[in-house]
Chain length 306, copies 2
């Protein structure tokens, strides 16, 4: 074994609906190696998660006696082991105390991270996996105030003293895909590189909307029809309306003078940073591997790493 490998202390898994990410983490919390694959939980045949784990990480088989900690949709009803939701407020200690351990006969020991739920007047809200990323961002001193995790289901998370105190989910990414692909709005769209102008025009529309999103969406059709928006920019305009609408509502629930911390895929965080600028807000972008820091922090709090 080389020196880097000798320090490995933990295997961290971020296993979601559409992707698999694994981190070999050292005693110091640093990522030694990482692997990713498009093997989300929906892609695993016959729900053979152990087989997929062993196969995807076969080159790490020498470390399978290390504790494994897993978060994301792998902890949902459709995943490997379902974990409960822990109510907010909750930080790394609360998550650590509610880990669900699972020991496989072959010797693997996996600790599944619980999800979080928040109670609002109208209905509950939930997350699975994002809470670990927020813990990681907090550990990097980038997670105080408001953290936004853009994506299929965007999360706006309020953090105080390292604990998640509230959060709201927005279906922005999934609504965008459904509208673009399965409504008349997509028919006028033609491909092209990112249209910053079209996107910002959409953001401004979304930001000033007063609950009239269903009306403003129709502009994605009428503006190109009247030659007031290039067809190559229509998809970005739609994206802008939705993200602008999310930001308008997110800022209403998460008022704060500070900058917003963004966690996620680079193209998405860039888009949100641009939209937040249009909204007059500052933002900072956390590293994409912040989930590894979060998994390490929770494992350490649970005493899994010595």
């Amino acid at each position: 074994m080389n020196s880097a490998v000798s320090e490995a202390a933990l295997i961290g898994l971020d296993w979601g609906t559409s992707s698999f990410r694994a981190y070999l983490i050292g005693k110091d919390g640093q990522v030694r190696e990482q692997k990713s694959a498009a093997q989300g939980i929906m892609a695993i045949k016959d729900r053979d998660f152990e087989g997929a784990f062993r196969s995807l990480l076969s080159s790490w088989s020498g470390h399978f006696s290390l504790p494994v900690i897993a978060s994301g949709m792998i902890t949902s009803r459709n995943g490997w082991v379902e974990t409960p939701y822990v109510p907010v407020p909750a930080g790394k200690d609360a998550l650590a105390s509610r880990l669900v351990p699972y020991r496989v006969d072959s010797g693997l020991e996996i600790h599944f991270v619980p999800g979080l739920n928040a109670s609002h007047d109208a209905a509950p809200d939930v997350m699975r996996g994002e809470e670990v990323q927020v813990v990681g961002a907090s550990a990097e001193a980038k997670g105080e105030g408001h953290v936004v995790l853009p994506g299929t289901h965007s999360k706006w998370v309020k953090v105080e003293a390292g604990r998640i105190v509230d959060f709201h989910t927005f279906m922005t990414g999934e609504v965008f895909a459904a509208l673009k692909t399965h409504t008349i709005l997509g028919t006028l769209m033609t491909g092209g590189s990112f249209s910053c102008e079209g996107f910002e025009q959409g953001v401004r529309s979304g930001l000033c909307g007063d609950g009239d999103l269903l009306h403003r969406l129709f502009h994605v059709r009428t503006l190109p029809l009247f030659d007031r928006l290039p067809r190559t920019a229509a998809a970005d305009y739609l994206s802008g309306i939705l993200i602008g609408s999310e930001i308008r509502s997110g800022l209403a629930s998460h008022k704060n003078g500070d900058a917003v911390t963004l966690i996620g895929r680079g193209d998405l965080t860039d888009r949100y940073a641009c939209a937040l600028t249009v909204a007059g807000m500052k933002s900072r972008i956390a590293s994409e591997t912040v989930v590894a820091s979060g998994l390490f922090e929770i494992a350490k709090s649970a005493g899994l790493t010595s």
Copy 2:
């Protein structure tokens, strides 16, 4: 010929994206016969609209020397003859003066009704076909004030002295279908009869939303997850959120103490009438064949019927 047929003066067509409706109308404006088929303009092979017209109305071939007046998406770029948009304010006289006549060698004479467009600050709005229904409702003295035409693209129309002075489109029906069929929200839904309770619960959520529709949509997932909404009611809850959100925004643009007039398919107008009641508004329902009255009024104004 029998006496009813001898009085026929006009053939009216309401030919939309997904359906074909024809009316044989007498000199007195009464509908003598009507036909409908699921032969919307998208279903017509090779855009042979004349062939489809002759085939669908073959039993009326003795009347093909009568003037024909046509409205709906048949007047769009993908239709038979494209007509321009006439800006609001506009009533039956303005529509009549902008009819686009089209004479087929075989002797058919068809007059295509223009669409309407409205200019708002953010973007233009358009309609094709609904304007004729509103004219028809006005002729029946049911169209003053505010007319709502629920559907794939719902229209809120403001009418003063028989003229359309403004309108807004909401993509409610199409967004509902896309979200139900192509997002995770549909996965928790199970079939069932109409859930009035679930629908009204959704309407209340949509009505009180302040631009946070993308957040409230997520409740369609979390409420069944926490056993706070039966899965059989989830689709109606989603429908309620969207219709409630439309009504909240529609009423903001179309403030009026009077009752709202609803035009459309019976199941939809019932649903909107229920939602408007939750919003504290009265409504009255116009007849489904109001489009025939509108086509007759416009034809009369254009001097097509003697």
